[in-house]
Each structure stands twice: as structure tokens, then as C-alpha cells.
Amino acid sequence: MARFVVRRLLSMLVVLFAVSVLTFLIFNVIPGGDPALRMAGRQPDPAQLERIREDWGFDEPVYVQYLKTMGQLFSGELVSYSTQQNVVAEIGKRLGRTFSLAIGAAIMWMAFATALGLYTAIRAGRLSDRLLTILALVGISMPVFWVGALMNYYLGFKAGIFPNGDYVPLGEDPLEWLYHLILPWTALSLLFIGVYSRVLRSNVLDTLSEDYVRTARAKGLSERRVLVRHVLRNSMIPIVTLWGLDFGAVLGGGAILTEAVFDLQGVGQYVAESVDQLDVPPVLAVTMFGAFFIVLLNTVVDIVYAVLDPRIRLT
């Protein structure tokens, strides 16, 4: 176990390194990627360009630039090329928003998907199962930006039931925080609920025909206990992997569309805007930030996995 964690940490370093190098290189070879050109404004004169290059170190070899940038990133001094704001501070400002969105949505989609998956599996073949199946498929096929926009328009703008965009930090007013996030959570969760509940349904159906479920019934356990302790636990094992990956991605700023539709000003939205500007520092920082969470969650998933299924040894 301890060895496992150490190994994962080491591999995380490797991943972060690879991701950062890749991001950096990509932005260096994109046509029009020369940051000096953008900084100098319209029709710059060569001398000015030269100065900018010298000031920012753009004239140095790529690996030196990379090392410098990374050094600045880790000492928190990295600034954006376009807005000249401190990147780490900017991400820090948005962190609460993205985390609020991700954690809430992840809990929401897991809870709903579990309930829905279990219910449809138990009622497999009946009318309620078929209707919910259709609903799940609809959920899967609706794009987030579209659902989000619809909800925003009808529930927020027209009906006024929910606030239209905006964000209230949890520390300021928890109820308002919740109230403001319900729509984004729902929009983000719909797809996941659809997918997860389908996967769970088929896992539960498989598990129900296992011999040990029969044994559990033969012991005289209540049906509820049979379902929760024996069926659900075994069916959840594969879902946990999916969940960890998706949760990691959303935490790391992957919910770009949702953030944009509800104008949450989260990390995802930040990176989207920066990509637009071909602004390397924020993109690099957010990419590493995202990769960090994905690897972290992956490790957590593996540990949870080993707890759920003792046949798996962590090495």
C-alpha cells in the first residue's frame, strides 16, 4: 500500500512533466503562436518586437524558455502574456467555483445514476424500465450547452425560478450557493446519469444471476440487504473507475461548456479563453492542474477499487 502510493506519486511527476512539455511544444509550433507579435499590438516596429522578445526571453532556446516558465509556475510568478495577470492567482480565484461545480455534480450524478440503474435493473423488461431507458438515452444524447442554455433560458430567465448565471461562494451564503448551482449541476450531470445508469443496470443484471446472490437470499436476508450488500457492492466496482476519471476531469477544469453556458468563471472557462488568445502560461498551468487531478483521482480509484474487491492487490 505505502509502496503503491509512492509509486503513484512518482508516476504523477512523470505525467506532469510529459503533459507540460507537450503543451509547451504545441503552442510553440502553432502558426501565429509568437507571443511577442500579439503583445506588441497592431503594426509593431521591429525594434519594439526585439525588446519584447528580450524582456520576456522569447529569443532564448525553447528548453530554456520551458524551464523558466516552469520555474515561474512553481514559484507562483507566472504571468499571462495577454493580460499580464498572475496565472496562479487567477486560477486560485476560480478554484472555488470549479470545485463547487465538480463536487456537487459528481455527487449528484453518482447518486441519481445509482438509484436509476438499480431501479431499472430490478424492473428490467417492465414498462417503467423501458420509459426510464428512453429517458436515459435522451440524457446521453443531449449536448450540455444546449440543455444548459435551455434551462438557463426557461427556468432562469423566463420563469425566474432559478438565478440566471452568477455564483455565490459557499462561505458567504450556503443556501444561495446551492441555489445558484442547481442548474449547472443538473446540466452537467444529465449526460453522466444517462451513461452511468445504463452501465450499472447491465452490471446489476449480471450480478443478479450470480450464485452468491442466491445464497444471500437463501440465508433469509431482507431483499434490501441482498440488493445493497451483495448486488450493488459488486456491481459498483466498474462504475467507480468511470466515476474517478470523470470526476478528476471535471475537477481539473474539464467542464468547460457548463462553465461557459452558466458563465461561472471557473477554471475551465479561463483555459478556454486563454486558448483563444494562444496565451501559453494559463493554458500550461491549467493543463497541469487538470492532469494532477486526473492522476490523483485515478490513484484514489485504485485504492477504493482494492477496498471494494479484495482480490485486487495494489502493487
Binding site: 500500500m1 505505502a2 449480471d206 444471476s209 450470480e210 450464485d211
Partner: protein, 390 residues
């Protein structure tokens, strides 16, 4: 016979110069027992297979019997390279596969198939039985249109109906599941089939059919079997040689018939005495069960009673000594080597049964003995049973 070939492991029968198909040398498989959450410590090791050396000749059937939990499945799985050996080596057709990785094993997988002890757990619950049997055929490139015929043929051969191909595994009875496992293993016509209790869930008539089928296939295609079973009468029928295991070690290896007429190891003898006889009157006279599985003397040896052994901390000396009616101080201290008797009969016991003084005196230490075994060979005096309970 005056064959003076190097007495390697498993050259007991078919003394031809051919190399055995499978050769296992000083194989050990230990399972660590870990405790603790964040920092796990190894608190002990299950000695599932503990220094086993044996060979299986091409075309031969080696029966493997022994107490439940003595390591038969683990040994079989190690030969299939489904568990990693802790020590020792495994050779298949002379090639060392102890360390072989997935890629090198790939072509060999086709040649060695296993019928698992747990028929249901080894069948994919989502796949129809037809697909399960067809899978290995397809993986190894059988033409697509031939496969369904082949599946039907295989199902028929193991005594199932071809229309069963469309069912899912959970829709079969225990014995039917077991036969599906057999059909799947036969699909590729491998050269070695490891059968882990392949007929234990079958009624005697179907059992007989399957055994006869295995027999026929062996005659037709020269198959080699490792046959693990508890049913000693079935083992006798199908095997050329039988190996008796106890607590991870080989106790006795013998030509099949001889094991029954002349068991040398007290454990083997105890096993044979414990066989239930399908005759109510005879049983009542014998009273095996009434005695709780212990203590009915018969032919000088009691049915094994006593505590089952602990594979984490195996007894010193002869692993069977705590339950052996013939045990002496020597047995507690010195592990007996596998001694070689006439006719290639091996047994690891200081106080052998059913052998004459001359035979005992003539024994030699077999090279397949465990490395930890001593050099003390049984002597004639002891063999006559003066130390026994007779």
C-alpha cells in the same frame, strides 16, 4: 528391464528416451498473508505447493489426488502458468516457461488447456454457451463458418444437446456447466489438458461417458492429461500413474493399479480406507461415518483423524507425522526423501507399508525428492512395522 537411463523425474513409465511433455522441478508456490492497512507486513505464507518435482510424459494421464487444500489446484494452475511460482522451474516440451511472459505463452496456450474446478466462475455469464465454446476456436483462427458445426459436435460429445448452445451459463445444472468447461477445453485439440475435478458434479453414468470420451480422445489424438480428482475410483480408471499430495508435497507416486494394491505411504493407505463403498450392508459393517472419520482400524492403519494441518506453518520432519499412526521420533525430526521402490514406485515415508525387507533395503533416494528432505532412507527393520500400531 535393464534400462540404465539417468533416473530423471517422471521417467517411471514409458522409459523411452523422449522428454516428458511437462516437467516440474522443485516447484514452490507460496501465498503471502499480509496484514495492516497503510503499511502491510507479511505475517506468514501459505505453503500451497512446497517443492514438488514431477514429469508428465506425452500421451500419459497423471492422476493427482490428495486432501482438500493440499495444493492440487495451485499446482495445476502453476503448470498452466496461471499463478506465478515462487521457486523452481516448469518446462513444457523442454522449454523453460517459468519466466515466460504473456507473449511467449500465447502460442502455448493453445496447446495447454484447463478445465477449472469451479465451472460456473470460469464461464462468462453474459455470453451464450455457444459463444463461449466458439471463442477459443475463433481466437486461434478457425474458419468462421466451421465454428458452429464444431460447437454442436463438441456439445454432443460431452453429452449436451446442440440446442443448448443458445443458453446462458446460469441456465445449466452443475454437471452441465462442468461439461461445458470440458467442451471448451477440447475445442482446440490441445496436447495437454489439465482437468481439475472435471467429473465431480456428474452422475456416475455421465461420469463414465466423459471418462470414456477422454479415454477415446487420448487414443485418437495422443492427448496428455493431468487429472485432479477426489474420487479415487475414477482416478484409478483413467490414470497411468497417480501422484498423492499432502500439504503441498508429494507423498507417493505410483503406477495406477499398484497404488491400490500396494499403497506404501500411510497417508495413501488412509485415503484408500476412507473410500465410501456403494453397498449399504458393507458400509454398515465398516462404520466409516459413525466413527466421525477417525479411528476405524483396518489393515493396521486407521482412517486419518486429527486436526487438518496448517499450511502456513507446516509440521517439521514428515508433514504427515501429526496424524500418522506409524510416526516416530525420526518422523518428527527428519523429512523423508522420496524413496524409489521397484517398478518406479516412489514414496516419502520412513516407515513404509506393504514392502518387504529386501525391497526396502534396495531403495534409493529419488532425485525428485524435496531439497529439504534428509538422506535417511527407510531400512528393512522399520519396514516390517515393528514401530507401527499394528
Amino acid at each position: 528391464m535393464s534400462v540404465k537411463a539417468e533416473p530423471g523425474p517422471g521417467d517411471i513409465r514409458r522409459t523411452g528416451a523422449s522428454k516428458p511433455l511437462v516437467e516440474v522441478r522443485h516447484l514452490k508456490v507460496f501465498f503471502p498473508i499480509r496484514q495492516g492497512f497503510l503499511v502491510e507486513r507479511e505475517v506468514g505464507r501459505v505453503h500451497a505447493v512446497n517443492d514438488v518435482t514431477l514429469g508428465i510424459e506425452q500421451g500419459e494421464t497423471l492422476g493427482l489426488v490428495g486432501e482438500s487444500g493440499c495444493g492440487k489446484t495451485t499446482l495445476s494452475r502453476a503448470i498452466m502458468r496461471l499463478v506465478d511460482p515462487t521457486k523452481g522451474s516448469i518446462r513444457f516440451r523442454g522449454e523453460d516457461i517459468t519466466e515466460a511472459g504473456r507473449r511467449r505463452l500465447e502460442p502455448m496456450r493453445r496447446e495447454m488447456q484447463m478445465v477449472f474446478q469451479d465451472p460456473f466462475a470460469s464461464l462468462n455469464p453474459r455470453k451464450r454457451v455457444g459463444q463461449i465454446i466458439r471463442m477459443p476456436l475463433r481466437l486461434h483462427g478457425a474458419p468462421r463458418d466451421e465454428a458452429p458445426d464444431r460447437v454442436r459436435e463438441l456439445l454432443r460429445r460431452v453429452g449436451l444437446h446442440p440446442e443448448h448452445a443458445n443458453r446462458y451459463p446460469h441456465e445449466f445444472s452443475g454437471g452441465q456447466r462442468q461439461r461445458i468447461g470440458v467442451a471448451r477445453a477440447l475445442a482446440l485439440e490441445p496436447s495437454l489438458i489439465v482437468l481439475d475435478e472435471p467429473v465431480s458434479a456428474l452422475d456416475v453414468s455421465v461420469q463414465a461417458q466423459i471418462i470414456n470420451l477422454l479415454d477415446d480422445l487420448q487414443d485418437d489424438m495422443g492427448l496428455t492429461y493431468l487429472f485432479v480428482a477426489h474420487d479415487l475410483s475414477v482416478v484409478r480408471h483413467i490414470s497411468d500413474r497417480i501422484a498423492v499430495m499432502y500439504l503441498g508435497k508429494l507423498m507417493e507416486v505410483s503406477p495406477a493399479q499398484e497404488l491400490y494394491s500396494k499403497p506404501i505411504h500411510p497417508y495413501t493407505s488412509a485415503l484408500l480406507t476412507a473410500i465410501p463403498i456403494p453397498d449399504p450392508e458393507a458400509n454398515r459393517r465398516r462404520g466409516r461415518v459413525a466413527a466421525g472419520g477417525g479411528g476405524t482400524p483396518r489393515g493396521g492403519v486407521a482412517v486419518v483423524g486429527g486436526e487438518p494441518p496448517n499450511p502456513v506453518d507446516p509440521p517439521s520432519g514428515c508433514v504427515f507425522h501429526p496424524r500418522c499412526p506409524r510416526a516416530t521420533e525420526l518422523c518428527r525430526e527428519v523429512e523423508p526423501p522420496l524413496a524409489r521402490y521397484r517398478g518406479g514406485h516412489l514414496a516419502a515415508c520412513h516407515h513404509p507399508l506393504n514392502v518387504s525387507r529386501e525391497e526396502t533395503v534396495a531403495t534409493t533416494r529419488d532425485p525428485s525428492s524435496p531439497l529439504s528432505a534428509g538422506d535417511v532412507l527407510p531400512d528393512g527393520a522399520a519396514a516390517e512395522g515393528s514401530l507401527g500400531t499394528s
